[in-house]
Symmetry: D2
Amino acid sequence: MKRFDSDYLEGCLPQILERLAQTNLEQTPGYGEDPHCARAAELIRRACGNDALQVHFLVGGTQANVTVISALLRPHQGVLCAESGHINVHETGAVEHSGHKALALPSPDGKIRAAQIRDAVRDHYDDFSHEHMAQPGMVYISFPTEKGTLYSLAELKDIAAACREARIPLFIDGARLGYGLASPACDVRLEDVAALADVFYIGGTKQGALFGEAVVFRTTELARDFRYNIKQNGGMLAKGRLLGIQFEVLFEDGLYLRAARHAVEQAFRIRDAFRARGASFLVESPTNQQFPILANDEIARLRERFSFESWQKIDGDHAAVRFVTSWATPDANVDALVAAIGETR
Amino acid sequence: MKRFDSDYLEGCLPQILERLAQTNLEQTPGYGEDPHCARAAELIRRACGNDALQVHFLVGGTQANVTVISALLRPHQGVLCAESGHINVHETGAVEHSGHKALALPSPDGKIRAAQIRDAVRDHYDDFSHEHMAQPGMVYISFPTEKGTLYSLAELKDIAAACREARIPLFIDGARLGYGLASPACDVRLEDVAALADVFYIGGTKQGALFGEAVVFRTTELARDFRYNIKQNGGMLAKGRLLGIQFEVLFEDGLYLRAARHAVEQAFRIRDAFRARGASFLVESPTNQQFPILANDEIARLRERFSFESWQKIDGDHAAVRFVTSWATPDANVDALVAAIGETR
Amino acid sequence: MKRFDSDYLEGCLPQILERLAQTNLEQTPGYGEDPHCARAAELIRRACGNDALQVHFLVGGTQANVTVISALLRPHQGVLCAESGHINVHETGAVEHSGHKALALPSPDGKIRAAQIRDAVRDHYDDFSHEHMAQPGMVYISFPTEKGTLYSLAELKDIAAACREARIPLFIDGARLGYGLASPACDVRLEDVAALADVFYIGGTKQGALFGEAVVFRTTELARDFRYNIKQNGGMLAKGRLLGIQFEVLFEDGLYLRAARHAVEQAFRIRDAFRARGASFLVESPTNQQFPILANDEIARLRERFSFESWQKIDGDHAAVRFVTSWATPDANVDALVAAIGETR
Amino acid sequence: MKRFDSDYLEGCLPQILERLAQTNLEQTPGYGEDPHCARAAELIRRACGNDALQVHFLVGGTQANVTVISALLRPHQGVLCAESGHINVHETGAVEHSGHKALALPSPDGKIRAAQIRDAVRDHYDDFSHEHMAQPGMVYISFPTEKGTLYSLAELKDIAAACREARIPLFIDGARLGYGLASPACDVRLEDVAALADVFYIGGTKQGALFGEAVVFRTTELARDFRYNIKQNGGMLAKGRLLGIQFEVLFEDGLYLRAARHAVEQAFRIRDAFRARGASFLVESPTNQQFPILANDEIARLRERFSFESWQKIDGDHAAVRFVTSWATPDANVDALVAAIGETR
């Protein structure tokens, strides 16, 4: 079985395992207060082009989302997000468990627009009963989105402007940030993300690390006491250096984006193969996730040799499915898939 | 200004004030462990036709909703409700603040259908990633709904059946229960509500009491330790007898429904006046809230002498508004409103 | 049975019932946005001698405590309090339910000292692992304390100074504030409380109202969005005017303190009777709660005709008990009790 | 600098790194649903001698504590624990953040006694106002405790009996379980822990893994829906196999206890060196943490070459400090420390 279910099927980039072996018997303080975390933070600040950024390392995405959101909101505030946003759909209500309502906005393509934010904030305060509703206290977007789509730089600037008008922070979930930045369709650079977001994270788990997300705050004030919040949310890794070491490897010499580029190229080969045989797509994704719409019998036939996720029923005979590539996807797997797609022409 | 904004504009039924005065210097234990609460609970059990019911008295609706929901759900569970449900819209995210996601279902008329519940539960467990989503752990409906509409007995039975199939409790918010039961369009009796709901409440605040909601559990097991939950949620009134005394007055001799009937009759006079001049309605409401769709200039003209809530913009020139009557609505106010409506013909 | 169990045995001061009757059919907006609440807030500001105070009305003490504490703390912060503090002992863990640790300090007499606050804050930040402990984010004291004791003005000033040094707010639970202010042993005035606390409340429930606590913030900034917090915590009374009306009556002409003085005088008669027959006390209380230490057989004998609470076992033969008086305690009840105490000489 | 600060100074046992390298490019499903987790669970069940156990893998201790505690308690329940318990002291109030009060019991040696549990439960229900206090809903103990001490099998059986009498679960934090089981002073076996605890965990982080705790439930019912709770608490590792792989290595051939034994032996060498020069100890610890009481100048002198934690001030001239060994502590480090201790004789 060749797998295209997700971008966390394998372990990690071999360079990371090597470095873990090299450093294994070093003795370091725990909880992220070691030299590796310090150096990784420095490398990330440099990659972002901003010395003032505050960097913290967490283990996973849900943990990063909840810790950031609950650290920045007051109790009566909710978080504006796309209806399909990860926090609204796939985190077992973790944000609500932390006390905050996810204020979901309609989003056919996984993106929300600055105008939706402006409307939601204005409608809230215009409402006579606004104190009876959760107050919009933050905007959460994903880059790329759950559907693989990307914000343009202009869209991102407009969203950031809407947030500043409303005086609420902009939080960008970058669990797959590299797969976005590495796309040829992307006009946003890491520096732009760092300049526009009040807080964002650089995903490691889906991008070649064993695990780990680097949470980056724009200012010291936004990050105030964040280590307390990490600990309280069960996210403070005792051997924090494991996070530092991995991000050192990813950001020392551009490995992070290099590995991501591989995934996007493989995804495009799959996309092109489906296109060539006339398939349509649920959404045009310029990143490592592709959502072709296929006939149920074709799906069944492909499933004999390939694994991939069902995404959405289209009609009685068709469904959208999801193929995901990663830093690790072997050429051979894609070759086999492309050939199998061709056979259906 | 004659007010039709809500059903809590005035104090309370005069019989309640009288009783409070008569009992004022009695010395009783606090926290609801007094003879008045005991007797009120007994009267409610009798009115519901079931000796086994567990009755607790809380001060207000949001408090009742959150206390019941958080007492019955496990941490990873959410509550299925109408998109327009009070808990989803008008409680400042109180349910989420208690840790639980409101799982909102589309509902143009304020009601949800048994089929929606069955689908939501089946879809949840069918999903490969269901552990990544909040688990449906309860159904919350309002009777009447936020839009004044009513479930038929058949609909209610079907919803209760869907809940039992899914092994999740059915919770009925009865903040305006009397205004539903007193409607000529209602084929549901209090006994039916008590038999079908696992837990429900009988609203006092909007139905002639100063405040107070009587929460009724179908079994001792469902109500286990509920007094701890009340206290923890800040809802245990020190002078709990105030709740008992009010519900004694309401349930001694049928005052509860009698007072409600007055409200519905007044609402129907308003409805008929709008109908007579050809107005359409956002929804057909058989209870004490009416939602005519009016031209903006008519709204402005009526607002000179009457207060009422804006509800929903229909188009550039029209909006739905809400007129609410109550146990206290004076004939003279309705006479004046009916006359004013007539003038626009 | 003549009752001395608590200060919420009766209904309310008759003046309050009268005013409720007079205003019963007024139509007012809900949720505390009515003229009575506005006027009551104004009267309280005047009594406190500070026009800038922000006043909000809540139904009960636990509700007030949790709403204030959770509104002002960040998620990783706890609240310093006496071990015997109401929030630490008698609120079913409501503060913890809202997410915050009660950081209890030893307190034999119910009071905490400024030095304890300074030590706790210094020890916290001195600890290498302070990020692994809940951060002291507020100080909570009661005036009078759970044991009826009072802070002197000098003590209160020192506590307020310790809070300002630590940049954390001082919150004073005044559920029985009047019984403290009315004590001849008290050198603190309401103006002092208002000047020294960042937020405090003036108890109504135990001081002659049916219910109600007036929460007073020192600045607009501290009270920002507090109405959202009230609603979210289920504390926004629909007929909010009931709170306004009661506090109008209490603060129009000094009734609040007058009624409290009656209670303290009755308590002193009880205290003196016990003293006269040589009883010792658990603590010297200058307010409406008295804690004599009695032999078990005397307790049993008194219980035949009087109700009062067991407080603390002293040894196999003796226990401390609690006698509480209130605005409503009739002379005849105290006469009977004093006589009965005398019989044991 | 030779470090004795903690037992998570190094990376991991080399066998684990090797296995991670061998398995790195396997493609497996995420979130713990892979063959490695299945096999590791099977190995643990076998080591515990009970096929019915439910095993789940989490990343860290705080996460495990909060997820288990909040999954098993109802909202109004608290958790009985030693005053010095990790959940009460060193988790930034994470248990309270999840809504539950830590009900701390005095514990000079880090242990609690069955009698304390029985008393606490009886006192709770005997109290007239028990509904105003958090209900004891679970017992949490650590094995070994924070102070390195161990429960005897008889003590553990008595605690388990007290829990069953009270019908509340017993939860054993085994972050350092191996260092307890490997002690020559220990008469408890892993099978005993598994038979007596309702839920416990086998610590990996401090015992030679990169990270990871294996949570073990006694019954399917206790573990119901626990994967939802893991996800909601941000503890569901995407590449869950990393946990499975590590516990496979630890439990395949007894490596877990073998590695622990090394630590205990090294600790005993340190203990004996201090004893030989006449030092006293804060507590007699038969495990990998030792707490000698030293003069301040000796502490200063040792700190020049060794790192270790300050634990508790004893008097103006003396303090208790903590030396910790682990699976990784090199002989050479202990040799150097022992020699340095000897020099002070």
